[in-house]
Amino acid sequence: MLSIENLTAGYNGSEALHQVSVRIEPGTIVSVVGANGAGKSTLVNAISRLVTTPSGKMTFEGRDIMALKPASVVELGIVQVPEGRKLFAPLTVMENLRLGFHRLAGRSGSDKVFKDRLDYVLGLFPKLKERADQRSGTMSGGEQQMLAVGRALMADPKLLMLDEPSLGLAPMVVDQIFDILKMLREDGLTILLVEQHAEEALKLADYGYIMAVGKVRAEGTGPALSKDPALHHSYLGKPGETAA
């Protein structure tokens, strides 16, 4: 579904991704794990076209997306839940959900589609229903993360990318969110999950990648990868070693 080959990305000349290659098959969860500064967010933002990518190849459903603008990537169905949730804090829960629906809004029959999406999202996160008119910034961290995921789901994405959804959340809430991701996979959604919490993220994943200082250090099926020595090297910060 998504194929990335030898991607380089950077900020004002300094390279944050070096020759990264990642593949995501339809209907799977792919996890990318790594320590702080490994380049995980950079990868997600490169796919969303928020980061400049001087070289490499990226195709989504066979279509080259290297030259697209951020809004066009969303239009294709690649939707991001950004690191730190990034809700529109002064706007209400419902307004945030409406904004998530922007991709599908304005098409013919979109009122009906909106209702269906809303029912689906509120079915997954019943709490959001009670909070519909509350300013999103005043909710608890867990509720905010659910809204961030719900907002992205309003767009009916083909590929859902989540950047550290566990950030700052209690383990129980993290489990809840990961359970929802499994449910979404059963509904046929394709998911790219970026996490620091490697163990849980890899347990969930069909396939995983370990990143360190801007490179992919190891890849493989989720469970196998969680035993890979590269994982420990990545977190202990020995960039010289490669296990792949």
Partner: protein, 293 residues
């Protein structure tokens, strides 16, 4: 009593004009973080192109008004595509783009000078300037039209921002343009709309205030200063706060001129604004917006 009601009315009238300009500035600022220095020139273009259509070409108002809107919209398009976008494409920060709008303002002034010359001109009034007695108030239809237009634009702005899907996108872009992009919102469209809308608001303000101030190529400068003060005093982050700031400044001016001397009106207003900003750095009503960021 009669004097007071007269002063209040003239304060509200001038305040409506400042408020319209403050609202225009705030709308562009909200979507792009740029203060458009050329905003006063839209007011000037409104007044002078009204002279052109009505006096020079002798056209009726129902053609002249769309004509005026056409002139300011074309200018807004030129500003958007000729200054704003090329600078954004080169990743210019808002401050640099502001300098770009200042340059554009000087260019519009120069072109206006070639077309209309430097002299003050009589601007035909859309409505009668004859006194009109409404209860205890002595006013005139033009004055009432200015106040009504101000009210109408406030309602229209509120409606667009809070009752339409496009308005929701505008507010989201104001809160966080980068995250708005992640929703698939095309921020350049939002900015284009804000230029066109605020140019129309300012152009119409020019048509209405022209007969009271006289049409002169430099009239934009005084008005944009007042409109900017209005926005700062009320709170730049919200069009409604900026509009309220305009009324506050208009009232202060009128009362100061009526009971003191107009000589001190301006320094007194500046001092008052400074004092307000010491206590409320985001403007009188601006706290809500400051909290948003």
């Amino acid at each position: 009593m009669e004097k007071l009601s007269y002063l209040i009315l003239s304060g509200v009238t001038n305040g409506s004009v400042y408020g319209l300009i403050g609202l225009s500035l705030s709308i562009i600022y909200g979507s792009s973080r740029v203060i458009n220095f050329a905003q006063g020139d839209f007011v000037m273009l409104g007044a002078l192109s009204a002279i052109m259509f009505v006096t020079t070409f002798n056209l009726p108002w129902f053609i002249a008004i769309p004509g005026v809107i056409g002139v300011v919209m074309l200018t807004a398009l030129a500003l958007n595509y000729g200054v704003y976008r090329p600078m954004v494409r080169r990743k210019a920060p808002p401050l640099t783009i502001m300098m770009g709008t200042l340059g554009a303002s000087i260019m519009i002034y120069g072109i206006g000078l070639l077309v209309w010359g430097p002299d003050q001109k009589f601007v035909p009034a859309l409505l009668s300037l004859k006194p009109l007695i409404v209860g205890p108030l002595i006013t005139n239809p033009q004055q009432l039209a200015i106040i009504a237009t101000f009210a109408a634009f406030l309602v229209l702005t509120w409606y667009i921002l809070y009752r339409t899907r496009f308005g929701l996108s505008i507010r989201a872009t104001g809160v966080d343009p980068k995250v708005a992009l992640l929703m698939g919102i095309r921020s350049e469209r939002i900015v284009l709309f804000s230029f066109l809308f605020s140019a129309t608001v300012s152009g119409i303000a020019g048509v209405l205030v022209g007969p009271l101030l006289g049409g002169q190529i430099g009239m934009g400068l005084m008005l944009i200063v007042k409109g900017f003060l209005a926005a700062i005093l009320g709170g730049l982050g919200s069009p409604f706060a900026a509009a309220a700031g305009g009324i506050a400044i208009g009232m202060m001016e009128a009362l100061m001129a009526g009971y003191g001397t107009s000589l001190y009106a301006e320094p007194a207003i500046f001092m008052l604004i400074l004092l307000v900003l010491f206590v409320r750095p985001y403007g009188l009503l601006g706290d809500y917006e400051a909290e948003r960021r």
